[in-house]
């Protein structure tokens, strides 16, 4: 995985301790004090890690185990374990139509948001990756959606999507097209939520793409220019392969992010109309926090985890082979 590639552990040479080069032990002049320094360094290291480990332990590792535990039980509305049911929760989920509906909706949401979101970000990053005047302003504009959160963004788009008075339908009538029931027509609801999501994610995707392009050396462009390569050819043959690590990173992050989309759906459609936007996380939320079926909710969350994990492993195994690391 890409992160691992660069976050490999430092060689002992990185250590600041004065006794990096082991021979001190043989000098035997002050073995006690060296041992003490060594012990103090170890203590210090654990003390430095303690706060992070404490939080991870309480709010990551423990709940992960607890999720597995809960998924095997029925719970009362307080979240107290009522009855051991083994894998019945999983069986019930896999036998319910709602699970497959929400899974299908999630896949549709990914297909609608990830490629379009990345394409838009690449295009804008490519346009602003040059040394013309005013680029700073354009870069700021294209990063702006990053400051827009899911709560505020959803409110804005809810008004834009208003079926009779909304400005998007007004534009459509200007173009001579029929108005669209953006959020209330089952055919359109997912597309509308996806469109809003692409806009909201644009800022972060754009920053990632721009960073990637800025990492490519200028010399490469200069030499292609001398070779007489046109802009499109240069883009597809040179830029795209060189930023492929960024593209890969963005695709992984986007897919995982799309699996976890919740806020815009809760605000804009509440999973409707006719469950057309009921994605997996929304379904988990409904089961656990509306119907208080924590066992079923935990089991679903674990299934979601397994799907994300499989997909990420797949991305690393097959897609990353095509990635060009410099």
């Amino acid at each position: 995985m890409m992160m691992e590639k660069e976050f490999t552990l430092p060689s002992p040479g990185h250590s600041l301790s004065p006794n990096v080069n082991e021979p001190e032990v043989s000098t035997a002049a002050k073995p006690v004090s060296i041992k003490r320094t060594r012990r103090r360094e170890i203590l210090l290291a654990y003390a430095c890690l303690a706060p992070s480990l404490l939080i991870f332990g309480l709010f990551l590792f423990y709940p992960l185990l607890k999720s597995v535990y809960l998924s095997l039980f029925l719970t009362d509305p307080q979240g107290r374990v009522a009855e051991f049911v083994g894998f019945d929760n999983f069986r019930e989920i896999l036998a319910s139509d709602m699970f497959y509906t929400s899974f299908g909706n999630t896949l549709l949401f990914i297909v609608l948001t990830v490629p379009t979101g990345m394409a838009a970000a690449i295009l804008l990053a490519a346009l602003t990756h040059n040394k013309l005047k005013g680029m700073k302003i354009f870069r700021f504009i294209f990063s702006l959606p990053m400051a827009v959160s899911v709560g505020t963004g959803s409110m804005i788009w809810m008004i834009l999507y208003h079926p009779t008075l909304g400005i998007l339908n007004y534009f459509l009538t200007l173009l001579g097209t029929q108005p669209v029931q953006w959020l209330t027509d089952p055919k359109w609801a997912m597309i509308s939520v996806a469109l809003m999501t692409v806009w909201m994610n644009l800022g972060f995707n754009y920053i990632l793409m721009l960073s990637g392009m800025q990492g490519v050396s200028e010399d490469i462009y200069d030499s292609t220019k001398i070779d007489g390569s046109g802009p499109l050819r240069t883009f597809f043959r040179i830029t795209m392969p060189l930023i492929s690590p960024t593209l890969f990173f963005t695709s992984v992050v986007s897919v995982i992010g799309a699996f976890q989309a919740f806020g815009q759906i809760n605000i804009l459609t509440k999973g409707g109309p006719m469950n057309s936007t009921n994605v997996m996380v929304f379904n988990i939320y409904q089961d656990a926090f509306v119907n208080f079926r924590f066992g079923i909710g935990s089991a679903q969350a674990l299934i979601l985890f397994a799907i994300i994990l499989l997909l990420t492993v797949f991305q690393f195994k097959f897609v990353e082979k095509k990635v060009h690391y410099q």
């Binding site: 890409m2 992160m3 660069e6 976050f7 552990l9 430092p10 990185h14 250590s15 600041l16 360094e41 170890i42 210090l44 290291a45 654990y46 430095c48 706060p51 992070s52 480990l53 939080i55 709010f59 709940p63 992960l64 607890k66 999720s67 979240g79 804008l124 346009l127 990756h129 013309l132 354009f138 870069r139 504009i141 702006l144 400051a147 827009v148 959160s149 899911v150 709560g151 505020t152 409110m155 804005i156 008004i159 008075l165 400005i167 007004y170 800025q214 990492g215 220019k225 802009p231 883009f235 830029t239 990173f249 919740f262 809760n266 656990a288 926090f289 924590f294 969350a301 985890f305 410099q326």
Partner: protein, 274 residues
């Protein structure tokens, strides 16, 4: 794309069209938030207000406790941001500069935490916070997020890029780890720390599901959840809803304006280049 080979006018036209598409929802928000109620209800919708009308903002503040929401979000986001900087920089120092047994194992453990999706641990975390009686409290909103693997990696990467000779010299001169950390490593890593700060602040400011689950009292709601109240209270006055949206957007817009540069640079340096 090697845009230098294209005519400048073409690039600028494309950029203007792109900006218009990206900015339109925000410009519409700004414009409508300045309209009077009558104006915002007209069809076809006017694009610009007749006169600049700032009374909406006062009205929103009267209708829903916008300032309380902003205050809550600020307290939570700043506390998490500072906490993450402290925990991540300490852990990053240990991983970058200290030798101790179990380092590889602990580092892999940190890496693994990035793979755990929030949804999986959300239900037990909710139950934990509920059992601790932390629903509707700041600690319930803050403490679960005080440590971050991503931040630890980012800062470790920053620390490793600092000139080693400097610290070795300091150590030889008898300068302890604590002093090296506080008076050399931290000040030299300010760009990386700023990146983590901006990233973490924006992320936590935008948090939705956790505050939705753990807060019920209006006084404890954060911006993202509070904004929904406008929808119910003033459903027909778009000018009011969008004024509220704009008020709630301002802090993060301001931070992005200040923090964009370190953010772009930090992501390049820390997270993507191998």
């Amino acid at each position: 794309m090697n845009m230098r080979l294209m005519p400048k006018s073409f690039i600028y036209i494309a950029l203007l069209l792109g900006s218009l598409a990206v900015l339109f929802p925000l410009l519409y928000t700004l414009s409508t938030s300045l309209m009077s109620e009558a104006e915002s209800a007209v069809y076809p919708p006017p694009l610009l207000p007749e006169a600049v009308n700032l009374s909406n903002f006062a009205k929103v503040i009267d209708t829903i406790p916008v300032l309380t929401f902003i205050g809550n979000s600020l307290v939570v986001s700043i506390a998490i941001m500072l906490g993450q900087i402290v925990t991540a920089s300490l852990a990053a120092y240990a991983f970058a500069f200290l030798r101790f047994p179990g380092k590889t194992l602990l580092f892999s453990l940190f890496l693994a935490t990035m793979m755990i999706p929030w949804e999986v641990i959300m239900i037990p975390n909710y139950l934990t916070v509920k059992n601790l009686n932390w629903l509707d409290t700041y600690q319930g909103l803050i403490i679960p997020f005080l440590a971050t693997a991503f931040g630890t990696f980012l800062l470790r990467q920053t620390f490793l890029q600092l000139p080693k000779e400097l610290f070795e010299a300091a150590r030889v001169d008898g300068c302890g780890h604590v002093r090296v950390f506080l008076s050399m490593v931290l000040p030299l890593s300010i760009p990386g720390i700023a990146t983590l700060g901006v990233y973490s602040f924006l992320n936590n400011w935008n948090m939705y599901l956790w505050p939705l689950l753990t807060t019920n009292r209006v006084e404890m709601r954060t911006v993202q959840i509070g904004i929904g109240m406008l929808q119910f209270e003033e459903m027909n006055s778009w000018n009011l809803i969008l004024s509220g949206v704009l008020l709630l957007l301002l802090p993060s817009l301001l931070l992005l304006a200040l923090g964009l540069k370190p953010l772009v640079r930090g992501i390049t340096a820390g997270a993507l280049k191998g």
